[in-house]
């Protein structure tokens, strides 16, 4: 058991998550060049350097504030199922919007690897990405890949391996908001950590509460009730 890890593939819609999933697991998750091809979870496994990885392909999301059911599926998985590593798959040709989601994921969980996919397309368009700068600025590994052409996989697998075996550590650089927001975050944050402890990032949850994410609240309460039931039955 301690030799097996769960890796979730998150990212904007249509960034090649299912393609990467297929390349890893050899499975046949369907792909399509449109936002919203995948609407539910798919799981597969891959073995690398004596370790087993369970890969979870998620529906794409524009943000962690879920708007539709498929996005909610993805969001709930990252928040509540807590994969060992979250691979955020980004589209190299539209990094600005894609990074927006990556930043949100970094607020939520620590072990994140950022994969910049479709690097072949980006090169064709003359887009040059300096992943070292991004790694430094984000505090987590940033790796350029092409899921379709299987470029950058050794590096990616190696990074995963070093992360789970503790040889490297992620220190996500948090986004600092303006003073007003930061103040309010601090007010709420302390109360949240009393309530949830270390299970969920309290800074992130504080932001979501300020944001007014009702769906998240509902889901949170639902899971709380479920947990209570399990505890009572045990």
């Amino acid at each position: 058991m301690n030799n097996s890890y769960r890796i979730a593939l998150a990212g904007n819609p249509n960034t090649g998550k299912s393609t990467l999933f297929n390349a890893f697991t050899g499975l046949r998750q369907h792909t399509g060049n449109w936002a919203g091809k995948t609407v539910s979870l798919a799981e597969g496994t891959v073995r690398h350097k004596e370790k087993n990885y369970q890969i979870v392909d998620l529906p794409g999301t524009y943000s962690l504030f879920s708007n539709s059911v498929d996005e909610e599926v993805a969001r709930n998985y990252i928040v509540f199922e807590k994969p060992d590593i979250t691979l955020v798959v980004l589209d190299a040709t539209s990094l600005e919007r894609n990074l927006n989601l990556a930043l949100q994921v970094l607020e939520m969980t620590k072990n994140v690897i950022v994969c910049i996919n479709l690097i072949d397309e980006a090169e064709k368009k003359g887009i040059k990405i300096n992943e070292r700068i991004l790694t430094r600025k984000l505090g987590v590994p940033v790796i350029k890949i092409s899921a379709r052409n299987k470029i950058g996989f050794p590096m990616l697998l190696d990074t995963i391996d070093r992360l789970v075996s503790g040889k490297i550590e992620c220190n996500p650089v948090q986004t600092t908001y303006n003073e007003e927001i930061e103040e309010k975050i601090t007010t709420i944050e302390s109360k949240i950590s009393n309530l949830v402890g270390n299970t969920i990032s309290s800074r992130w949850l504080a932001l979501r509460l300020l944001d007014g994410d009702k769906a998240l609240l509902t889901e949170f309460n639902r899971r709380l009730v479920l947990n209570d039931q399990v505890r009572r039955e045990a």
Binding site: H30, N33, V39, V69, K128, I181, L207, L217
Partner: protein
């Protein structure tokens, strides 16, 4: 203090402006990151996608191209499947001879041969030879279009029409999924954000004929509608008829969406955002292999899994007698008057009822029913097939009405289960059953009565 109280507290100190600021500041940081981490070496933007969009979403060509695409996909499917289908059928027929000899050699009782060979074997091989070749062509062709990026353009072109009937433009995407499988398409409706429009997409998805229904549509179109044509022209006419049926399904979708928007699902169209990704050349080989092999295989396994028991059941019903008629005939006689009103008959009604678990098995069950009353013993070719239908009084109106019934009738069992899972409501699942059923009765009824009035039949 619990989470709900915290939520209220947070909301009390929050404001819409603050929420906007959060997103905006995230975006500013993204932009800063891009400024330092990304550089552009080409000054000229890539205009390939733009040029293609100028054609695919053009005022003049947008709609004709969609129609042509639909036609081409179906033409390839029908034309390409023709020969492999008959080869498979021949092969299975040849194999059946040997299997029967083995049964005779073992002195197996007649009833066993009946159930296993005449029921199970024939039923499932029929499904394989009629369904597999079209699927093996359709799925990869469609997957290529899909991976290329054409589907969002369809949604872009069609949105105005969907807005008009109060539906969501992404319904065209879920409908496109419906060609493959309605059950999967019902799940794909998750991409529609608003519950009302999502429900519309779920309730009407069935009016797109899934591949399980093409077998019957293609066979009947080529036997009855394109009968007077030969060669390449016959294929064209068959394709034309199928495209016509599909278009009629789309019209019905619009009509039902509109009617529901005015009644049970009242409301104005809500939010709509659609991303148009750049066109990307698919990895040809990968896409073709993945979709033809795996997808056809899964669909086929499902079909055979359902077809086998259904075939056995039909055989049993046809061979157990109450009085001097079989159970099957009793049922047929009971359903016959109703079927006749729609220009159909008791066998057809029974086949559709027994076919609830999966549309693929409707035609084999129908044939087994007809055959059990003994006119022909083996279906070697399509000509024999047509003779069976003619012997049971079919005309082109019968064929048309069977096609319409197949297009419009209740979703298959798997789809209904998925509808229940997605809506979590018995009421809506029941409506998803009821609305198509009513239409499947009303439309053929009108067609038949009109045809009778005009003296066509």
């Amino acid at each position: 203090m619990n989470m709900n109280e915290l939520f209220s507290e947070a909301q009390a100190i929050s404001s819409p402006q603050l929420r906007d600021d959060i997103v905006q500041q995230l975006y500013s940081r993204s932009r800063e990151l891009c400024d330092v981490g990304v550089s552009y070496t080409k000054t000229k933007a890539d205009t390939r996608t733009e040029k293609l969009d100028a054609i695919f979403t053009s005022k003049i060509w947008g709609f004709p191209i969609m129609l042509i695409m639909l036609g081409v996909v179906f033409y390839l499917t029908i034309a390409g499947a023709n020969i492999p289908s008959s080869m498979l059928a021949e092969f299975f027929g040849w194999l059946e001879g040997y299997i029967t000899s083995v049964f005779q050699f073992l002195h197996a009782p007649d009833w066993l041969h009946g159930i296993l060979v005449l029921g199970l074997y024939r039923g499932s091989t029929w499904v394989i030879s009629v369904m597999l070749p079209p699927m093996a062509i359709f799925f990869p062709t469609f997957a290529l279009l899909e991976n290329y990026g054409y589907l969002p353009r369809v949604a872009f072109n069609m949105d105005r029409l969907f807005k008009f009937v109060g539906a969501h433009g992404k319904q065209s995407l879920t409908m496109a999924m419906g060609f493959g499988c309605n059950a999967a398409a019902v799940m794909s409706s998750r991409i529609i954000e608003s519950p009302r429009e999502r429900m519309l997409a779920i309730l009407t998805n069935n009016f797109v004929p899934c591949n399980g229904r093409w077998g019957i549509l293609i066979v009947l179109a080529s036997l009855f509608m394109a009968a007077n044509f030969t060669g390449g022209f016959k294929l064209l006419v068959t394709t034309g008829v199928i495209v016509g049926i599909v278009l009629f399904g789309i019209v019905v979708t619009f009509f039902v969406s509109w009617a529901l928007s005015k009644t049970l699902l009242k409301g104005v169209p809500t939010h709509y955002t659609l991303e148009l990704p750049p066109y990307r050349r698919p990895k040809f080989f990968d896409t073709v292999i993945r979709s033809s092999l795996t997808k056809s295989w899964t669909v086929l396994v499902r079909a055979v899994k359902v077809a086998a028991p259904a075939a056995i059941l039909t055989w049993v019903l046809a061979n157990i007698h109450i009085g001097d008629t079989s159970i099957l005939l009793h049922m047929v006689e009971f359903l016959d008057p109703f079927g006749k009103m729609l220009g159909l008959d008791g066998y057809i009604m029974l086949a559709f009822i027994l076919g609830l678990p999966a549309n693929e098995i409707v035609l084999p069950i129908l044939l087994m029913g007809y055959l059990s009353t003994g006119s022909l013993t083996e279906v070697d070719s399509l000509v024999d097939l047509k003779q069976i239908f003619l012997d049971h009084g079919w005309t082109w109106v019968t064929a048309l009405n069977v096609m319409l019934f197949s297009l419009l009738h209740y979703p298959c069992g798997t789809t209904l289960v998925n509808i229940y899972k997605e809506t979590k409501s018995k009421k809506w699942t029941f409506l998803a059953f009821l609305i198509p059923t009513v239409l499947a009765i009303v439309v053929p009824f009108i067609v038949y009565q009109t045809a009778k009035l005009l003296g066509w039949v």
